[in-house]
Amino acid sequence: MNLLNWFRRARLEYDLDRELQYHFDRRVSDLMEEGLPESEARRRATLEIGGLAQVREEVRDVWFTRWLRDFVYDLKFSARSFVRSPSFTAATVLSLAVGIGATTAIYSLVDQLILHALPVREPERLVLIDWKGDPVSTGFGSWNLMSYPICRDLQRHDRLFDGVLCRAATTITLSIDGAPEPTAAEIVSGTYFHVLGVGTALGRVLEPDDDQPPGESPSVVVSYDFWQTRLGGDPAVVGRTVRVNQYPMTIVGVAEPTFRGVDVGEVPALWIPASMAAYALPGFDNLLDRRTRWMQVLGRLKADVTPAQAQAALQPWFATMLVEDMGRPGFPRITAERRQRFLASRLEVTPAPQGHSALRRRLAQPLWVLFAATAVLLGLACLNVAGLFLARGFARDREIKTRLALGASRGRIGRQLLADSVLVALAGGLCGVALAPLAMRTLIEFLPRDTAATALHASTDRRLLAFAFAVSVAAGLLSGLAPALQAGRRSLIASLRERTGIGGGVRLRKAIVAAQIALSLVLVIGAVLFGRTLTGLLAKGPGFDTTSLISFGIEPRRSGYTRLDASRLVFRIHDEVRAAPTTAASAIARYPLLTGGSWNNQMTILADRRIATDREVNMNAVTPGFFSTLGARIVAGRDFDQRDTRAGDDSGPRTAIVNEAFVARYLAGRNPLGVLVAVGSGPDVQPNREVIGVVTTFSYRGLREESEQAYFPMLDGGEGVDVAGNFYVKVRGTPEQAVRSFRALVHAADPALPITYVRTVDEQVSRSLNAERMLATLSGGFGALALLLSLVGLCGVMSFVVSQRTREIGIRMALGARGSAAIWLVLRDAAAMIAAGTAIALPCVWMLGRLVESQLFGVTPTDPVTIAATTSLLAMVALGAALVPAYGASTVNPTDALRAE
């Protein structure tokens, strides 16, 4: 109410003026009617009303109440005093700007990636429907995978859902007017747009009618951004034909501008109906197969249904479906134990207002860790400002004492100091918000990026501003609390007496410095742990030689090639690559290395007896020479050669190479060569591949992973499986030269075939460490800032103590104490603060360790070496900082010190 008045005070003032004027004029005219001359009438009227200014003041008190007016007055007073001491102001504002800016930037990412609901109708009713248990099926894609038919089944539960959609992210080769380009797309059910409640800017959305028999609805919807950037905002775009993996499809609409799909980390340029999946994913013909999982299923709950209710209500149907599934043709033969696990499966319904994002899953934890780090940094900045205020409070002692003597209440003075800090915090917040977009852009640069753009942006929106404002006010109150309480507590007599003793809230300031040291120790230890993780991973490397190693990929199946043609093309290009003068060695793999993904499945091993692997083995198909190209050693047996890669009849010899980790886990203590293996774990799996070699263990999915791996030969011209060409080439000369020749080779083979990626393997290693690098760099930066802030705090307090004790030190020196004794006097104080800080920090480190454990590699969160080294380093640096004022103490001239008082 009062605040409301504050914003319309101009209007209020105007009305009050009119009202009082009316009263005055009426009174004057009445008095004149009584016979008074005008001048006398005016005088009387003024007298009666008792001074217009006085009345106005009193009415204003009614409008705003006292505290609000006082507060505004305080702010003005603070602003004036800040202008008078610019260096103090700069120091405090800068401390808070750093803290608030960093917190805001990280919060922006947390908000966009983790908290922000999709810009769709009533996102809070969206749920993710996921399979818990053993689905007895093969999956490809990211997480929470389901089959297309089960989504169709769920669409019939219209008592629970206002619709169910399924979607899968993929990359296609899109040709508009000729030029083919890898493009991010989303394969979706026809219900997708209706369930989300997303409309179009142009044309129509995909409809349930588009969910027709496979291949019969070649319609796509493009995103607004894509329409604007790649299609030039063409108003006649609806009806235009584009080629998806060389298959012609018609653009039927443009989605509304704010909509960027359901995955914030992977924004599709276009949406393709699931019925066209065979064209979007060349060679995929399992759309209607219930045992192929590749899509995420999201539902919109009815308004009065909770996720728990929906989950419970689905269970009876789901249990029946499981039994039916087992009777269907094509259901694999499985062991009784596995059947039990299958039948014990259930559906899980969880709220998903933010949609589904693989990036979120990968980055959520690092981001929360960083957010916690910025919160600590901000706390530290607050402490710093509190310390500075306390110091200034002492300097302003005379002013405060005068005001107290003139009758100001302690509460009033405390409030004044609080206004000071709130003002500083708001200024700091303003600077922080100004800095935040820059920080955000830098942060987003750290994130992994492929074909799909992320929807993350570095702009400040209203939510973010509200956050920054709240944080600023909180920081202001926090940093002002200690000085305000101090001012409120100190009595006049005591502060007069303090003049010669050690006053000025020194004890409080020492406590603050101890807390600062504790917080920075926590941050620095964190930074060292993340730094060691990164350097550890980099030093370890992928386990093979990456020097001069280049990888590039082609996907001929996405350009309309048949399996056989694609295979021929890949091998033809490989022959040319191998013949190129820049090539030292080269090989092809079906799946790329170090991208986080792999082809994985359980395997069956037939040695003395038949066993199934207890966890999934990472597999790949490679050409002969793959291991030598990578510089990975064959430790037993031999590499693949032409004998193994002959295509065709299944009767031929089939072989496999496993890695040392595989041998150690499953074949320990026996000769692995000659053992038979096969992909899969069912009773009908026939182990018929002979292990012909053992290779050293190297990283496949990512640097942290060194699991069991199995390699199969890539069959020359084989028709059985798709040949995706991931080339690994050891080059001579500069990589740039080689890359140019590869591009020319591929272009000559087929000008319409895009290269999906080309980079050095070193680059790939570096990309795979994005999250680790982000954590290490940022926490290192935060740690350094924290250290700086607390050293400044320590130095400040110690110089203050020295200036307070100058007299005492002078007397001691006069009595024969040496300079070193004075140094010791000061250092003892500093050491006590450092010890207290360390004592607070270590239990915190121990507790926080759990939080970061999963982010670390090769070092435990309570690694004694790290903690001991960091602590002693910090202690030394802190003592060094204390040495500056300590030296000042030792040079005190006794005569001057005594005369000063």
Binding site: E19, R26, I49, G50, E58
Partner: protein, 113 residues
């Protein structure tokens, strides 16, 4: 010179304003004149304290104000009692009566004056 009047007791001004407005809407000057008439003989009302009181009562929701043409034709801010203002007046009248009764009782008890 007017006869010696005593200042209006704290808190009764609000009640008097509510009472005056209970007979019908009026602008500040009219309220002042009415107060003047009532109090001419007895109490002294500082006109300067009238406006803060009016604004306070408006803020509390007991009065409603709007700009309307006054009897002179010029626009004036006219105050009117709201429903809750009417209730408040009843409450204040009641407590005033009880207070006055209690004071009289004490004076009567206290012996002849």
């Amino acid at each position: 010179m007017p006869p010696s009047r005593f200042p209006i007791p704290q808190g009764t001004l609000d009640m008097l304003i509510l009472q005056i407005l209970s007979t019908g809407p009026a602008h500040g000057y009219a309220v002042a004149q009415r107060l003047e008439q009532i109090s001419r003989a007895v109490v002294q009302v500082n006109q300067g304290s009238l406006y803060p009181a009016l604004h306070r009562l408006e803020q509390k929701g007991w009065l409603r104000a709007e700009w309307k043409a006054s009897e002179t034709g010029r626009d004036a801010k006219i105050y009117a009692l709201t429903r809750s203002g009417r209730r408040q007046l009843a409450v204040e009248k009641d407590s005033w009566a009880r207070l006055a009764g209690a004071v009289r009782l004490i004076f009567n008890e206290g012996g002849p004056s």
